[in-house]
């Protein structure tokens, strides 16, 4: 009896192109049905001599078993495919909510993300503050014209209230210097208030304060971290300008400008070396320690970063505006 050697391979090939169970059973019957080569060959065994009969029967049984296995496995695959009815998977998903941080919070976090790996601790600060922490300890003498730059909200608290809404996050410097051990590397984000409202100013806005007090820091360190931070923040090499300015709590003081597109120089933050009066007021040995501080307005950074024109949009709660930041 002549048994074709490629029977299994041909069956495998044909099974690959089977698309339905009907096709499958048709093919199976060709290979394992009554009229198939294997089954009909068993009937022909009778005509063989005993030795050939044993050898051929063995060979046929192996072949039959291999085919059976092949078809069983193939059937499982076909059934698995055809059991699932085909869906239009392009139909919409069930309703879901897309959450998002507020763009101002996102920008604050972007700032924190730069300083955190440099081990700057993040502290929250008091929004209702005393005159001492907001002004006096920061070297703003009473009646000094510098106080007039800060249109201050005051709180009703009895006859001589010295409580106010902080006008800057710099109050956190004083709390941290009085409380934390040195060296101190800190960041303090938060809301600040000025009694002023127009198209470019809001009575509440967000600042982030940075402060370093350490043994060997100088103006070059301050410049280094500010330039590096700005390049991280805007994700490009920046042209940065430091120009002298005045803050009562730093000496020397500087405003930092960046060259931004076609807008020329734009002011982005204020900074300086911590004024010795401030350090001394916090019982810090000025012979041993020096410090630098910087403060930035987050709304301003956000407006530059996102290209927002109207500061009031950030506080409008308008999803048409806010949803654009979640995509």
């Amino acid at each position: 009896m002549q048994i074709p050697q490629d029977l299994i391979d041909t069956a495998k090939l044909k099974l690959k192109s089977v698309q339905s169970e009907a096709e499958f059973f048709q093919l199976r019957s060709q290979y394992l049905g009554k009229k198939s080569f294997v089954i009909s060959s068993f009937a022909e065994l009778k005509s063989l001599d005993p030795d050939s009969k044993i050898a051929a029967a063995k060979e046929l049984n192996i072949l039959k078993s291999k085919l059976n296995h092949l078809f069983e496995v193939a059937l499982e695959g076909i059934q698995a495919k055809t059991d699932v009815s085909l869906l239009d998977t392009t139909l919409p998903a069930d309703p879901y909510f897309v959450g998002a941080e507020h763009p101002i919070a996102e920008i604050s976090q972007r700032v924190i993300n730069y300083f955190s790996p440099l081990n700057y601790q993040v502290f929250s600060g008091n929004e209702i503050e005393t005159d001492f922490f907001n002004f006096e300890a920061l070297n703003f003498p009473a009646n000094h014209p510098a106080r007039q730059m800060h249109d201050t909200f005051y709180l009703n608290a009895g006859k001589k209230s010295e409580y106010l809404l902080r006008t800057h996050t710099s109050n956190s410097q004083i709390h941290a210097m009085l409380r934390e051990p040195l060296p101190l590397y800190m960041l303090s984000p938060g809301r600040v208030y000025r009694c002023d409202s127009d198209t470019t100013h809001l009575p509440m806005f967000t600042q982030i304060e940075g402060l370093v007090v350490d043994e060997d820091v100088n103006f070059g360190d301050l410049k280094g971290i500010i330039i590096n931070f700005l390049e991280y923040f805007f994700n490009e090499k920046m042209e940065v300008r430091f120009r002298p300015s005045y803050f009562p709590f730093t000496e020397p003081s500087a405003e930092v400008d960046i060259k931004f597109g076609d807008n020329g120089w734009l002011e982005v933050l204020g900074c300086g070396m911590v004024h010795p009066n401030v350090l001394k007021g916090c019982n810090i040995d000025t012979k041993k320690y020096r410090g630098f501080a910087f403060g930035m307005g987050i709304e301003r950074l956000a407006m530059l970063y996102y290209g927002v024109d109207d500061i009031r949009d950030f506080y409008s709660s308008n999803l048409d505006f806010l949803n654009q930041f979640s995509s």
């Binding site: 069930d94 309703p95 081990n119 709180l155 100088n218 070059g220 000496e251």
Partner: protein
Amino acid sequence: MKIQYSFLKDYLSTDLSQQKLADVFTKVGFECESDGPIIDFDITPNRGDVLSLRGLQREFQAQQSKVFKDKSHYKTLTFKKDKTIINKIDKSGCGNYQLMLVRGLHSVKVLDKKKRNFLSAAGVPLIHPLVDLGNYVMLEMGTPMHVFDSDHLELPLNILFPISKKTPFQAIGGDTKIVEPSSLTIQDQKGIQAIAGIIGGHETSVSNSTKSIAVEAAFFNPDKIANQARKYGLATDASHRFERGVDPELQQQALARFLFLLKGIAQYDSIGCYKGSSVKLKPKAISLSVERFNYFSGLSLSTKKIKLFLETLGFTSMPTKTAHLKFQVPSHRFDMELEEDLYEEILRCYGYDNIPINPPKSGPVVKVTDHSVSAKLKGGLVFGGFQELMHMPFVSTKTFYALNSNEWIPAELSNPINENEPLMRGSLFGSLFSAINLNVKKGYSAIKFFEHGNVFRKIKNGFAQESHISGLIYFHESQKTWSDKSFQYDLFSLKAEVLKLLETLKVKSIQLVPNASATIFTANAMDILVGKNKIGMLGEINPTSTNKLFKNPAFGFEIYPEKISTKSSALKLIPVSKFPSSSRDLNILINQSYSYAEIETVLLHRKIKFLHSLALANTFEGNGIPDGSISMTLRFMFQSPSKSLQESEINESMDHAFSLLNKALKAKIRS
């Protein structure tokens, strides 16, 4: 301070373009903005000495390493003391008072066009040629002047502080001001004729019929002038300068300059120059260590270079016996006190941009702060589909009490920006409610908002500030999919949301305890406790607190991140069982007055052998259930750490569980 470019360019004798000139001043600390032909200088409050052409010239020349030379023309005048002209001077308020009397004025002409344009560009209104001249000299020299019509003065003058009582005074322009005792005043024999350094009187103001004038040039102590102008609702060019400090040695020169220019616009019969007893201010001297400066700045400047920089700015190098340098501070520099102040001057001359840049340094290893808890909670909410919002914290009295317990005393502003919102918020929910209303109107029907911010209230010794994270979930329309699947958000969905958030953040041992008396929620609200520590609340929003801003039920929560401990306790690992678990259901009937929490307490606090966990599989009320009772299917899961459990062992534990429920809560088996 606004200056015409063309005028300034001539004054400084420079050919620099407007932009380049503005850049020179900006780089040394006087930020400039150009508005057409005008340069607007932003002069910081410490640099009153630069509020004049002379001040700008000094800075400009220093940048060119040139020592300042006075360019204004005048003839030096002689001033004499005369008690019939200037009698008493309060020395604490007035360090220097000079008066020039000009009599028999006639043929007075207006100032030349160039000066008039200069004044107009500076925002100084043209009033009368004699007043305009005083204003011009103020802008040129930096010394404010006041011109009295001396025919209306009854000399001598007294400069008095404090005055005995509040006194009415008619100021230039006709407004009556009530002069405070704390104000420094110029008085003649009739009474107050000027509030020193701020404004003159109506009666003695110059008019077209003026024939004689008394021109005042003085140095008033900045401490006595500061904040005075604001008290009267006035902000004059003079007060702006006096508050910041006016050079106390410049008054006689300024009057000489006035007279020099007066000759160009008027004729007069006679003049007399008088001085009051003046206080000679002792020049300040500041030492400087070159070594310390270089350490501070990261530079290595020579002594010669440092001296050059400071001398061009008008500082005088003084002899010293120590290794340090010593400089006398020029009389116009009120901002100079410390060595560090000199550092800034040197660095300004050197150029901030030329200071070398060091790579960023990092600090010592940090500890976890409450900020990281808030950040994690916010991150969790964002992934939970919440949109973060931010709002102004000012609220009306009505809103405050609608959202806060009556026991809360609000933090009230004494100068609110909007008088209808004088209070600081005591809850974040008010603005979130308005935000829902706004966005529903815009067509949004399913909303999840949260806000992170502080709330405030008054307490016994000041004010309290608490950090809150508050969230709201609102469905304006029921949520159905295209396949008609519907989603019903309810109190238990909210409970799941909050528990998922807190448990994911590893807040341990959370308990939700009913609180029926919360202001903002309905009676089905819950306190979120960790031990006895309340870390938040959740519940359905009470419609009465929303001011009808939306129609459907809203669900809300607030979490207090500062109350969540940042200390992580040491992890205790329990060996994981390799043996299979078995679950069994128990159907019980129980009186409705018992809460599920009580069932949990009975079962979980007693040690039922092999009990691994407990869940509520189903509840049922109605047909076949006696009134006042509820049927519950409790699902127990049993597992042993050391063996496969036998049926008999599980049955024994189930019997134990039921007997506990029966004994404590009178539960019955539901057949």
